[in-house]
Every structure is written in C-alpha cells, then in structure tokens.
C-alpha cells in the first residue's frame, strides 16, 4: 500500500507544500461528483480527502455540514463511495483518504471497512471524533489491511499528548489550526506557529495544516520554522466550486506553490 508520507515528501523535495483538497462525497451531485473528483485530481494535487457524509458532523462548520446533508438526501452512502472508488481505481493520481465520523464507519463493520477500502485504493481514514483513547480498535482494523488512521491534533493538544499520539501515528499528521469548526477562519498566526512547532517536536511524520486556509499566502505568513509540509483546503474550495468555478482556478496557485 502506498505511503502518504512519501507522497508529501516528494512534493516537498520538488520545492512545494503538498496540497490536500477536501471534497464531500456526492458534491455537487452524486454523479457529477466523480467528474469533480477527476477535475481536482487533474490539478496535480497530492492527496484528496473524500468526506463521508454524516447526519451529525460536530467538527464541521455550516458549509461542509450543508454539503453533507445534501449528499445524504441524495442517497450517498459509504458503500456507494467505496464502490465508486473501486470502479475508478488506478485512474486517480492522488492518494485518497476518507474523512468521516465514527458511526458510519463503525456500522459498516471495521474489518469489512478495512478490506473494502483497501480494495478501493484508499490509503487511510481521518475520523475527527475518534481521539487517542478510543482509536485503537479502528487503527488495528485498518492497519491489518495496510491502511492508516490519520492523527489529528489541535492548538490545545499538549506536547505530552502529541507524543502519545506519535507512538502510533502513520502517514501524516493533521494539525487543526484553530479551536473551532471547519471554515471558521484561520487561527491567529502566532497560535498556529506555536502549535506547528510543538507538533514538529512530537512527530517525525509530515505535518498537514488545516482549518481556515483560504489562500496560499496564509502559509507564508507563518515563520519559516512553523510552516507545514502539506496544506488541507476544504471549505474555501467547496465555496469556490459551489459558485460554479473550475477547480484549477482555485487549486492552481496552491499546486504551483
């Protein structure tokens, strides 16, 4: 199985920050989603996070929650997303990770999830409501099939706690830039820098910064020693796509670094 750590390092070796866009499965419509995914992939992004819709997305702000609600109404399910990815396996250049809440993954069955996700070419999962203490059974079920569970840390995660996460972390580490929900604006540069430096001490894996990144300049506002190896772009991209604009127009400046 592909190692996402290598994917990010390759982008860094080419002198750029790796780019990780997020898109809710089934956005804007269940069928056109697959075209949208291919369009994003064609922009030369490194990893794509595919959002699995959930009825109660407690870590998300209004834009992603609305996309999630519409996807559910349109009948998008984890099973259909995995089938769609399996049918397109080998057609996407970027690594694929699924981002979703615990319950839909749990109801699918953890072992079956690991097997089906691996078969669909998925590299890992991000589960925002699954902190350190609850993660072990999920991580083990995924690792048995060569997938990783991505670690998430926040501005209020202590160094000691990051070090506990580091013992089992694989792939990359998702650093949440602010105490809030997706799309609620970037954290103060000073706080972000402090969180990034703490994460750098705790983890040897690449660091991806997310929550509140709307344009590439946001990264250059950070001190050089606090810049991430990868940038996650969710809400801002979805807003751009909702306005009917092409993905390349938004992602171009990110991919060019």
């Amino acid at each position: 199985m592909y190692d996402m750590q290598e994917t990010i390092r390759r982008a860094n070796a080419a002198g750029r920050t790796a780019v990780i866009p997020f898109i809710t499965a089934g956005f804007p419509e269940p069928e056109s989603f697959w075209e949208k995914l291919a369009e994003i992939d064609a922009c030369g992004v490194d990893i794509i996070e595919v959002g699995i819709p959930f009825s109660d997305p407690v870590a998300d702000g209004p834009v992603i929650e609305e996309c999630s609600r519409r996807a559910l109404e349109a009948g998008v399910t984890l099973r259909r997303v995995l089938e769609g990815l399996r049918a397109r396996r080998g057609q996407l250049r970027a690594d694929i990770v699924l981002m979703g809440y615990t319950n839909p993954f749990l109801q699918y069955g953890l072992d079956r999830l690991g097997a089906d996700a691996a078969e669909a070419g998925v590299c890992g999962l991000i589960v925002p409501d699954l902190p350190l203490e609850e993660a072990a059974p999920y991580r083990e079920a995924l690792q048995a099939h060569g997938l990783c569970l991505i670690t998430l840390v926040a501005p209020n995660t202590s160094l000691e706690r990051m070090q506990l996460y580091a013992q089992e972390a694989r792939g990359y580490v998702y650093v949440v830039s602010l105490l809030g929900t997706t799309g609620s604006g970037a954290g103060a540069a000073e706080t972000v820098a402090e969180t990034m430096r703490r994460a750098r001490r705790a983890f040897s894996l690449p660091l991806a910064l997310g929550f509140g990144l709307c344009r590439p300049e946001k990264l250059t506002e950070l001190p050089a020693d606090a810049r991430p190896d990868a940038a996650v772009i969710g809400t801002a991209l979805l807003r751009h796509l909702q306005a009917g604009k092409p993905a390349a127009e938004f992602l171009g400046p990110w991919v060019e670094g």
Binding site: S55, D56, A59, N103, L152, N156, V176, S184
Partner: protein
C-alpha cells in the same frame, strides 16, 4: 435531608471501578474531536477537586434545601392504590423550583462552573426545561448564559423561551439538521470548542462524552438517595418496584442508581414508544435501537443501516432523543434494570388519570413511567409497593396535551 445528601456525596466512587475512561461495561467513552479533550479533562479534574470540598457541598446543600425545596416529599396515592390493588407512591420532583428534577443538575454544574472561575455557561435544551433550569442557575450565580435550542423546539416551546429570556439568557435557535434537540447538542459542542477558556457546557442529561454521564448522575442521585431513606423510614422497608421514565435518562439514573445494590427491588426504566404504529418514529433507543456513536458516547441509538441518526419522536418533548445515557445501556445489558415502553396514548391517559384521581398534573415525561405501571398493573402482585419518580409537573404540557385529549 442533611443525612440523605451527605450520603449521596460520599458514595460517589462506588461504581467507578475500572471506569477510568468513562465506560459502563462497553458503553460510554469520549468520542469527541481532539480540541474538546482538554475542556473535558479540565471538567473531570474540577469534579475531583471541587465537588468533594466542604465549600461546594455546603453551598449546594444550602441551595437544594433553601432555594429548590429539597427534600421533595413522597406522596402515597390513596385513590389510585385502591383501584390498582397495590400501593403507589410518587417521588415529587415536580414540586422543585422550576418544576422538574433538571434544577438538581443545573445548579450543581453552574456552581461548579462558578468555582472553576468560568464566567459563561451554555446548555442545550429540547422542551426547554433544562434550558430554564440552567438560565435560573446562571441568573443566581451571575453567570452569562447561552442556551442552544432547535428552531423547531423554539417554535413549539415559546413559554419556556420567554422564561429563559426573562432570566437573562440568550436563546440561540439552531437551524441545522433536524432543528431539534440533537442538533442543539451539536451546536453547543461546536460553540464550546471555540469558547472553552471562559465557558462550561452544562450538559442536561446523563449522556454525552465522559465525564457528563457521571457528573449528571452524581448530581441527580439525590432523588433516589432521598427516596430510599424516606421509604425505609416511613414503611420500614424498601419498595418492590421503582419506576422512572427514560429519555437521555437523567431522572431515571438519579432515581434508580441508589437502588441498584438493593437486589430485591425491581427497577424499571420506561422509554417513549411514539404512536406505537408499526415502524413509527419513537424515542426508545434501548428497546428499538442499535449500538453506535453519537454525541461523544458509544450507546444505543436510533439509526439507519448506514449509521445515520434517525429523528426521534414522542408526545413528550423531554423524552424526544435518539440516544440514551450509557449507564442505562449497561444496566440493561446486565439485566439489573428492565426497560419497558409506554406509547403516546398511554402516557396521555396516565396524565389525565393522575390529575383526576389524585389532583396532581404530571409532566408528559413522567406520565410514561405512570403509564407503564398502569398497563402492567395485572402483573404487579397485590400489596406491592411501587415507587414512581414524578420527575416534573405537567403545567408546561397542558396546551400540547389538550390537542389530544377532550375535557
């Protein structure tokens, strides 16, 4: 009273063996975003540091007695007992300040917030009872208060919205998802994530991420601790049955928990079955749900095959929730508590029956517990002593109930 409450605070640790992460058997836990771990840990530490302190215990005790009206009486229902053939007693939480058991918890958590140095409390509310209780406690302690309430509930529960506003609370109408209680909880959790420095989330029921199920039980078990001593003192024995309604489960855990070790006492939790038509929307997570994760806990949930949470339904707004507290699921799994169902029509009939037979108008929530007793009267041996938790008064439900019953 002193005695009952002191005891209640002393046996806090009794069932926490092996419960370090907030698990009751395999249920419970803390399934929240990483950013909520520090405030939950801070709350857990504050519980351990502040709640056993003399200052906290004395202040809370004083408020429960002199502000809320504890201990609440136990009333023998003489007229109904003659009809039923067994002795029916009610624990009268309806007589508390603000009209329901919710104040026990809201005062305890708001006092904790105050002593933690927080300046702002937030709460979710469905029917508005927990919102009113939190708004009351916040007014008393001079804390800023924000209550999140589903937009549909704001519409349906205008009198409680006005009460909260009168008490100085900001009511936020939540327009997300199904616009009901579960969405209000989501909104409160989101708000807490970004305001955790000065804010404590006063959770309304014995559910949610650890330590809320424990905290709420500790603050509500005064109900059962009092009732147990009152029955012992009055009858020289414990009741044969103790019955309480279960939504999230705070009045039920408060009433049932102090009887768990009394093996001869049959314990019954009553879930809301909705209309009772096959496949109807309901609020009976233990009876009709499957295990899953919502609002930070692994518990029984009403959900579809894909793990999406289903909308619950009940004539009683206070029971209208698709999940249930983890300790109830545990007590169910070990067979210590029987969880039954009462349907809307049975609850409405019980509402009317208690009012006309005893002159007490019960909340529609508590009416579910009464309804179970009435519908199982034939199975309850003659002469038994049956104690029902009357968790709240029914004045708030009149307008709603009168849509279904003709006077």
């Amino acid at each position: 009273m002193h005695r009952f409450y002191e005891k209640s605070m002393q046996d806090t640790e009794k069932t926490e063996k092996g419960n370090h992460r907030g698990y009751y058997g395999e249920y419970g836990g803390r399934y929240v975003p990483e950013a909520l771990i520090p405030p939950l840990t801070e709350l857990e530490e504050a519980m351990a540091r502040i709640m056993p302190s003399r200052e906290y215990r004395e202040r809370l005790h004083d408020l429960l007695v002199n502000y809320c009206g504890r201990p609440t009486p136990v009333t023998h229902c003489g007229n109904l007992s003659r009809e039923l053939g067994f002795e029916l007693y009610l624990k009268r939480e309806d007589l508390l300040h603000t009209g329901a058991h919710k104040i026990n918890n809201a005062l305890g958590q708001a006092l904790l917030a105050k002593m933690m140095g927080k300046t702002h409390v937030i709460a979710e509310t469905g029917a508005g009872q927990h919102g009113v209780a939190t708004a009351t406690a916040a007014a008393l302690f001079g804390l800023k208060c924000t209550v999140f309430m589903g937009a549909k509930d704001v519409e349906r529960q205008q009198p409680n919205v006005q009460r909260m506003k009168l008490l100085g609370t900001q009511v936020v109408a939540v327009e997300n998802g199904s616009c009901t209680l579960k969405d209000a909880i989501n909104a409160a959790l989101r708000y807490w994530t970004s305001h955790q420095g000065d804010t404590l989330y006063v959770f309304g029921t014995a559910a949610g991420p650890h330590p809320f199920p424990l905290l709420v039980r500790e603050l509500q078990k005064v109900i059962g601790t009092e009732a147990r001593a009152q029955m012992q003192e009055r009858l020289g024995r414990l009741p044969d049955y103790v019955v309480a309604c279960v939504g999230g489960g705070s009045n039920a855990i408060g009433m049932l928990y102090p009887f768990v070790d009394a093996e001869q006492v049959k314990l019954v939790g009553v879930e809301a079955g909705g209309t009772g038509e096959p496949g109807c929307a309901n609020s009976a997570a233990i009876n009709l749900g499957r295990p899953g994760v919502l609002h930070g806990e692994y518990t029984m949930l009403l959900q579809d095959a894909d793990g999406q949470i289903e909308e619950s339904s009940s004539v009683s707004a206070g029971l209208d929730y698709p999940g249930v507290g983890p300790e109830h699921v545990y007590l169910h799994s070990i067979g210590r508590v029987h969880y039954g169902i009462a349907y809307d029509a049975e609850a409405l009939a019980a509402f009317r029956r208690l009012a006309s037979a005893e002159g007490i108008i019960p909340a529609l929530e508590s009416s579910h517990a009464l309804a179970w007793v009435f519908s199982h009267a034939a199975e309850i041996p003659a002469g038994s002593i049956v104690l029902v938790n009357l968790s709240g008064r029914g004045d708030k439900d009149l307008a709603h109930a009168l849509q279904y019953i003709k006077l």
